[in-house]
Symmetry: none
Subunit: 220 residues, 2 copies
Amino acid sequence: MSAADASILLVDDHSVVREGYRSVLQKQPGLRVIAEAADGAEAYRLYKSEAPDLVIMDLSMPGIGGIEAIRRIRQWDKGARILIFTMHQNAGFAVQAIRAGARGYVTKTSPPETLVRAVMDVLAGKIAISPDIDHELALSRLGGESSAADVLTAREFEVLRLLLAEKTTDEIAETLHVSPKTVANLHSLIKDKLGVGSDIELVRLALRQGLLTEPDLGEA
Amino acid sequence: MSAADASILLVDDHSVVREGYRSVLQKQPGLRVIAEAADGAEAYRLYKSEAPDLVIMDLSMPGIGGIEAIRRIRQWDKGARILIFTMHQNAGFAVQAIRAGARGYVTKTSPPETLVRAVMDVLAGKIAISPDIDHELALSRLGGESSAADVLTAREFEVLRLLLAEKTTDEIAETLHVSPKTVANLHSLIKDKLGVGSDIELVRLALRQGLLTEPDLGEA
DNA sequence: CGAGCCCCGGGAAAATTTCACGACATTGCA
DNA sequence: TGCAATGTCGTGAAATTTTCCCGGGGCTCG
């Protein structure tokens, strides 16, 4: 392990962003980027063929999202090491990712040193969480109020993500390879668990909990 | 102008992402990155002190957002050339950015060549829009997002307002003294007029059009 | 007066939500 | 180790809602 470089698979749907990972990681001795993927399905395929020591992956991607990709990869290889590197500064996402099998969660606002440090920690077998998320997690613990989407299972969370992305039931069934009935069923179950009665309440709850990202457009 | 390299200011709140811009742009002769900023306010300060030939900027940033930053910079220098480079694949945001004075709008999913091409176009005085947004814009022209709630009658708008206030069909029927059946019919008609297929899309459209008071979570 | 909207609601078809049930994996306990 | 107990995922069918199509009454405008 110490003789050869650690091999890394980069997954992000923004090619310029992958370029950024590369640039930062290349400066670090002992690391080598061996492959890149632009979505979860491609990541899964490449993981199976390349067997990298570490996957660095974004969460929000077209098609199957990051959470689902984690599950599939970990199903293939129980020992897979996956580090999530994302813009979502949200404890709920972090909880879901770790629960699905990720070994680390770092936000893109973190300085490059934090990412490098997290990479090293995960390769060493530790769990790595960036400081801002640590803080968020602590807050959500203290807040006590019926916490966010951590009452949802990974599957339910994934369906919720796709619903919020304005996908139809049939489209979601297609991407997850399940029956449309099942998606409708999960949709109903999600609303039940979150205690909302309509899709409208569902979206507004998601907004409050930061599950939806809208840019700040300022005043007109 | 043509003798010296074109100077560029990069603005993005993710340092690793800025690293990506840099890496891509450095391969292109004639371009030189002279400064970086992590938010709109810093971008404005740096623009005044460095007077770059071009600004490449993200939209969603902490503090003052990208749109507001465009306005301030253009207020200081009417000839400023600003290229928006963002993850938001949304025609509405592109329209707002261009209207605020941006000279280009490219999504981060675009390949590096598209970004480089857009940089060159903007430096040459053209307006640059990435193909995916072009397509979105064409769709919205063809009857995609029916402008605002000015296609709705007063009655319909009132029902929409109550729906967004998380009222149930029966409650709305009660307050308006009509049959629940009528409310359901109007609800359906509203979605039809606005060109959305689900309540989730409906809420997000309302958000984009400022019909919903967004919960202000976050920094001062 | 006739044309064009808007508001209101009925009925039937289509889609959805909901409910009840099994298969499967994991956990806890004796 | 054996064996409930629990929780997740998925399906089918019933119950409900949404959608579509329809007509009547009221209103304005040319």
